[in-house]
Structure formats: structure tokens, C-alpha cells
């Protein structure tokens, strides 16, 4: 029997331990998760700053409008519709107020055969319908228009979304602009966005150009907040970086702005 000296403990390097711990935590977190996939926006600067390079599938995301948009949530709804238009499958849209205009959804890439509406009498009903939809496999995602979103309610939605791998989007809209302060409250959502309309892209002729949004990522789990100015969803739900008009070729200008020109003539 020979005595071997006990192997000296390897020098602990804090970064390695930390990285290993992070891996462990991620493995624990991912246990119940159906998918780790993300849905990229297809806009470089936007995707680069989101963890994983896009909007996480199987997670809850919050979208709200800025200023007066808190009442209508029109830009927020269009933003959500654009995201889901790029996902595969049908969409369940839960709401309390039936003022969403279906033709506008079709214009951002969500035709009637892809959207099922569920009208609930109150916000609790909207949340319950969302959760039911999230448990059901085969949907692209679920949208719910709610004002108040408590930690408990958002946690339930987040867990249901994790299990099924669907996108859950809460479009936050309130009855009064003052209530929009509620957006500061913590929730279990993966990301929190705020969309505010900006003056549209300038045109060489009179008319309204492609709408622009000021998009703020207010909160992002495992990521940093930032803001960016973008051109709103096109017919397939894609966002685009605004380019200064002078930098574009004549062909691109004519092609991308034909909508505005055509209307100005009409």
C-alpha cells in the first residue's frame, strides 16, 4: 500500500465556476420547456440584442402602446400581429372589446383563416381563454388584450407557454391613460415592449409614407433594455430599418413606396 498524496485541488477560477453554474441553472430552467427556439425579427440590430437572436418561443411577451396608444393599443396590436404572421399556424386572439379591425390584420399577414377570436366578458375571462389556448398544441400563438396583468396571472401564462412552446403575447391596453403606469409593475413575462407611433417615412410626394414606430424594449430576461426606430410591419409582418431617403436607389424608392404614391394619385 502506497500512500499517494491527495491531488491538490485545482485552482478555482471564478469565471469557470460561474459559467458552469449558469449552465446548470439553464438546464434546470429548460426542463419543462418544449422549445428553446426563437423567432427572429429579421432586423439585424434588433435580433443582435435579444438573447438567442430573436423573440423566444414558448414564452410570454408584453406589448404596450406609449402615450395615447395606451387606450387603443393599435400599434401594439399591429406589432403583435406582425410577429405572429411570421410564425406557423393559427392564432387565438382573446379580447374584451371587439374593436380590432380584421382587414388590418390581413394587411400585416394574418388572413381570416389564421385567426380565431374569443370574446370574454372581463379580463379574468381573457386570461383564462389565453391559458386554455396556450395548453392546446397546434396554435402559432395566443394574443390577449388585457389591462391589469398580475404576477400570478403572468406566471401561469408563462408556464403554460413554456410547456406548449407557443408564443403568448399580452397586448396591454387600459381604459385611462393614467392607468398605464401599471406597466411598471413586475410580471413573469420574458420581454416587455412599448411601441409608439412616429411620423411616417417621408415621401417625395404629398401623402402618408410607411408608418414608423419607436420601439422600446423596456425589460428583457437575460438581456438589456434598448430602443430603436423602425418602419412598421409590411404585408408579411416584417419590420424594417428606416433608411434615409437620399441613400436609397431610385428603384427601391419606387418599389417600397408604391403604396403611398398610388394613394396620393387616387
Amino acid at each position: 500500500m502506497t500512500l499517494t498524496p491527495a491531488p491538490a485541488a485545482p485552482p478555482v477560477s471564478p469565471p469557470v465556476t460561474l459559467a458552469a453554474l449558469r449552465r446548470q441553472v439553464r438546464a434546470v430552467e429548460a426542463q419543462d420547456r418544449a422549445t428553446q427556439a426563437v423567432l427572429p425579427f429579421g432586423v439585424g440590430p434588433l435580433d443582435a440584442r435579444l438573447p438567442g437572436g430573436g423573440l423566444a418561443l414558448g414564452a410570454l411577451h408584453e406589448v404596450a402602446g406609449g402615450a395615447d396608444e395606451a387606450l387603443h393599443g393599435a400599434a401594439a396590436a399591429r406589432f403583435a400581429a406582425g410577429i405572429l404572421a411570421r410564425a406557423q399556424g393559427e392564432v387565438l386572439w382573446c379580447r374584451r372589446q371587439a374593436d380590432l379591425f380584421a382587414p388590418s390584420l390581413a394587411q400585416v399577414g394574418l388572413p381570416p383563416e389564421r385567426v380565431i377570436f374569443a370574446d370574454a366578458g372581463d379580463e379574468a375571462g381573457v386570461l383564462a381563454a389565453m391559458e386554455e389556448g396556450l395548453r392546446w398544441p397546434g396554435l402559432a400563438g395566443v394574443v390577449g388584450e388585457v389591462g391589469k396583468l398580475s404576477m400570478t396571472a403572468s406566471r401561469r401564462l408563462q408556464l403554460a407557454a413554456e410547456k406548449s412552446g407557443q408564443l403568448a403575447i399580452a397586448v396591454r391596453r387600459w381604459r385611462r391613460v393614467a392607468d398605464a403606469a401599471d406597466l411598471g409593475q413586475p410580471t413573469a413575462a420574458q420581454t416587455r415592449w412599448r411601441v409608439s407611433p412616429l411620423p411616417s417615412s417621408p415621401l417625395p410626394v404629398p401623402g402618408v409614407g410607411r408608418p414608423r414606430w419607436f420601439l422600446e424594449l423596456l425589460r428583457c430576461r437575460a438581456g438589456d433594455a434598448f430602443d430603436i426606430e423602425l418602419e412598421a410591419c409590411d404585408a408579411k409582418g416584417h419590420l424594417r430599418l428606416p433608411a434615409p431617403l437620399a441613400h436609397r436607389s431610385a428603384g427601391a424608392r419606387a418599389g417600397s413606396e408604391h403604396r403611398g404614391q398610388a394613394r396620393a394619385i387616387a
Binding site: D68, A81, G89, E90, G133, S200
Partner: protein
């Protein structure tokens, strides 16, 4: 109609014209033909009448309530507990029943009351063709009616008339002890049933081909968990029967027979035929909270009326998420919670007028194409009631330079339009000359709105020339 009473031929039923000549039911045929020359006689076929009544009951069951029974010789009884709201109220439900029967060539009188006996009496002996008795007012309405309204045999009615008991009110006021001693318990039982003092269950009809499963309990059950468990067992049994017959249920009726002689019912409608037992059991159990077991339930019946053919479909175990996945289960669950009319798709309708261009379609329908414009802007939020706005416009064909909406004055930075929409003169004469001009306007903050002018800006016949806010783009 001629029937037999003992050995003599007597009148069993007659129509209104015959009644006006003064004939009465129970009169001998020889006597009647002598009194009214040219009387048309038909032999009564009681069995065929009863069979027709059963068919009518099945029709009503499909339309109105799971619990319907024939009330021979000439009536139907419907347990309308919790059903009237589906038709927009009790009166509307009765009018609907009457209209449908009239269309089918039947003359009918309908009444709704707190008890079977009460509704029976009022439908037959009240002058009103449609009679809604408010809750608690049954006694007041019944008292002036004759005793014959109580579903008593004719001999008993005659016997009661001898001591002067002609109306239900007089019978109700009489001392019950001597009454029972002299006439038996029957008049008192019928009186209590009519006034709602005694429960009278409606034993519902079933079509012969309706598949059903039943369970009888030695000891009454009442705990929700127990009910849910047995409901699950019944669903499995029923689904096995459906599978054997290659059928799928379009609706499920659950009947809970209570020990105190009442039947609680629950009806579940499905968007597509199904025999998926776990799913159906889950949906049924959501309905359980509307069931009041009272002192206990000693029998449960689960029926699948109007089942439709459902053949096997090859499953695709490998394809996980795919477009066109079967969503009927989700739609059923949501429809059960929110109401069937709250789960739908929005499809395009053939109209250029924005508020008419969208129609609700069933959630399981797959609208093929839409006719909405792709190039013309459409707002994300559309106000069902356009809000008037104050504007400053320079020229008739120009968008306004300023507008005030909800108290905020906004300067228009740029605008698109007009998109002129004309009235649909083929729908209404008033729309012949009407037109609207829609503009998309953007204010200095970048908010985009959809506004329109009612009219073409020149001719007053085309509209009021006032401006309205139609929607918000965002």
C-alpha cells in the same frame, strides 16, 4: 274525431267549426249527427296520434330543451329550466315555438309556468295564445279556471261539480280531509301538482336510435367528485357504443335523476362530431357545477342525440406542430366557457362599406379568400360607432388641415385620400345618392387616424358633410 266510450261511439275531438255548432266532447255520435247535418266524421287512431306526438316531442327536444315529453292526448311538455335565455327570454321562446308550429300547419297554444300542471291548465283553458306566468303568480292565474283543467278523469270532474266545486279556486279552498274521504287522493294530488306544491318530473323522450348509457345507484350520490367519476365512466361507455356504431356525438345530454323526483339536465354542444371520451368527460365535468344534486342522485343517464357518422382518421404521431391542426377541442372548451357566439372567425363580406365588410363566421369554418383591399390602408382599431370630429378643411376634395377629436386639437401633417365609398343602393333606397370620403391623416406627433366625411363635400344629398373619426392605425 270519433272514439269509443265503452260500447257507444262518441265524439273524442273536434275542430273549432264543430265546437261553434254547440257540440261537446263526449256526446254520442248518433246525437251529434242528428243535431248537425253534414258533420264530417273520422275514426280516432289513438296510437298514430301518440306516435305523432312522440315525433313532435323529439323535434322540440332537438330545438328547445333536453327534457321534453309528450303530454297525451294533445300536448307537449318542455322543462324550460335554464333554456329561455337562449331565445332571448321566456316570451320570445314561446312565440318561437308557436310560430314554428304554425308554419308546420299546427295550431297551438303555449304557456310557461312554475309547474307542469299549471302550464298544462293555462295552455288549454286560458284565452291567451301565448301566456307567460310570472314566478309566484301561478295560484292567482289558476284559481278562476275550471276543475277540468287539472288533468282529472271526466267522471271525477262531474262528481266534483255536484257539491259545487267548479273552479280550481273553490277546490283549493275546500277542506282537504273530507275531500280526500269522498273523492280519493287524486284531486288533491293533481291540485298540488298544478300549484307547484308537489314535484312532478318530466320523463324525457328518446329517439329509438339515440345511443345512451345509464347508471343506477343503490345509494344516492351527491359529492361533485363522485358525480364526476361516474360521469366519466358513463362517457367511456357511451363512447364505446358510438365507436361500435361508427358515430360521433354532436351533442350530449346528461340527466341526473334526483331522489326528490326532479331531473337536473345538462346539455353540451360540440362543434364537430367526437367520441373522444377523456375530452368529452372533461367538458361535461365543467357543466357539473350547474347541477344541484339536492338530497342525492340515484340515476344518471347520458345520451347522444343526433349523432353523426364519424370514421377513423389515420393519426400522424410524428408530425408535432403543423398548420391545420385539429382545434375543435379548443373551440368547444372556449365556447362552453364564453358562450358559443363568442368564439368565431372574422371573414370578409361582399361590401365596400367598412362596417359591413366584416362578418362573423363559425370558428371551424375556413374562409378561403378575403375581398378586403390590400393597398388601401385599414386601421387596426375600428370604432363601431364613428365619433364626430370638428375640422377645418380648405377645399372640398382636400383632407382637413386641423381636426379636434375628444377635446384635443391636432394639426394634420400629411394625409392620403380620398377613398370614396358609395352607398349600396341595392340594399336601401336611402343609400342611393350617399357617399363617403375616407382619408388617412397623420398628426404632428405621428399618430395616424382614419377619418371620413359623410358626403362628397358638395352635394347635400350625398350626406350631412360632417366629419367622423372611424379608426386608429397605430
Amino acid at each position: 274525431m270519433v272514439g269509443r266510450v265503452g260500447r257507444r261511439r262518441a265524439i273524442a275531438h273536434m275542430n273549432l267549426a264543430a265546437a261553434k255548432t254547440g257540440l261537446r266532447i263526449g256526446q254520442a255520435v248518433a246525437h251529434a249527427t242528428a243535431l248537425v247535418p253534414g258533420l264530417v266524421l273520422h275514426d280516432l287512431d289513438a296510437e298514430a296520434d301518440l306516435a305523432a306526438l312522440q315525433r313532435l316531442a323529439l323535434w322540440a327536444q332537438r330545438l328547445y330543451s333536453p327534457s321534453v315529453a309528450a303530454d297525451p292526448p294533445d300536448g307537449l311538455v318542455i322543462d324550460a329550466t335554464g333554456c329561455a335565455h337562449l331565445f332571448g327570454g321566456e316570451e320570445k321562446m314561446l312565440i318561437d315555438i308557436r310560430d314554428r308550429l304554425t308554419k308546420a300547419g299546427l295550431s297551438a297554444k303555449v304557456a310557461i309556468a312554475d309547474s307542469w300542471g299549471g302550464a298544462h291548465a293555462l295552455a288549454r283553458y286560458s284565452l291567451r295564445p301565448v301566456f307567460v306566468v310570472p314566478q309566484g303568480a301561478l295560484g292567482r292565474e289558476l284559481h278562476p279556471l275550471p276543475v277540468a283543467a287539472l288533468r282529472l278523469p271526466a267522471e271525477l270532474v262531474q262528481a266534483l261539480a255536484k257539491p259545487g266545486l267548479d273552479t280550481i279556486g273553490e277546490l283549493d279552498a275546500a277542506a282537504k280531509g273530507p275531500l280526500a274521504h269522498r273523492f280519493g287522493l287524486e284531486p288533491i294530488r293533481r291540485l298540488d301538482q298544478a300549484l307547484g306544491r308537489e314535484r312532478e318530473p318530466i320523463e324525457p323522450v328518446f329517439a329509438r336510435e339515440t345511443l345512451r348509457a345509464a347508471k343506477i345507484f343503490a345509494e344516492p350520490i351527491g359529492a361533485p367528485e363522485t358525480m364526476a367519476r361516474y360521469l366519466g365512466e358513463l362517457t367511456v361507455e357511451l363512447c364505446a357504443a358510438l365507436e361500435a356504431a361508427s358515430l360521433g356525438a354532436k351533442a350530449l345530454d346528461a340527466f341526473f335523476f334526483r331522489v326528490d323526483n326532479r331531473i337536473e339536465t345538462a346539455r353540451l354542444g360540440l362543434s364537430a362530431p367526437s367520441r373522444d371520451a377523456p375530452r368529452l368527460a372533461k367538458l361535461l365535468c365543467e357543466k357539473l357545477e350547474t347541477i344541484d344534486p339536492g338530497f342525492g342522485i340515484d340515476k344518471m343517464v347520458l345520451a347522444a342525440p343526433g349523432a353523426e357518422a364519424l370514421t377513423y382518421k389515420q393519426g400522424d404521431a410524428l408530425a408535432g406542430r403543423r398548420a391545420g391542426a385539429d382545434l375543435s377541442g379548443l373551440i368547444d372548451t372556449l365556447a362552453l366557457r364564453l358562450g358559443a357566439e363568442s368564439v368565431y372567425r372574422l371573414a370578409s363580406a361582399d361590401s365596400d362599406i367598412p362596417e359591413r365588410s366584416v362578418r362573423k363566421a363559425p370558428a371551424l369554418e375556413r374562409p378561403a379568400a378575403f375581398s378586403w383591399p390590400v393597398d388601401w390602408p385599414r386601421p387596426t382599431r375600428f370604432f363601431p360607432r364613428p365619433e364626430p370630429i370638428e375640422t377645418v378643411a380648405l377645399l372640398p376634395d382636400q383632407p382637413p388641415a386641423w381636426f379636434t377629436w375628444r377635446g384635443v386639437r391636432r394639426r394634420v401633417r400629411c394625409a392620403d385620400g380620398p377613398e370614396r365609398v358609395f352607398g349600396e343602393w341595392w340594399k336601401a333606397d336611402a343609400e342611393l345618392a350617399r357617399s363617403r370620403d375616407y382619408f388617412q391623416v397623420e398628426d404632428e406627433g405621428g399618430e395616424r387616424y382614419w377619418i371620413y366625411r359623410d358626403g362628397d363635400g358638395e352635394d347635400l344629398a350625398s350626406g350631412s358633410q360632417r366629419w367622423f373619426m372611424a379608426g386608429v392605425f397605430g
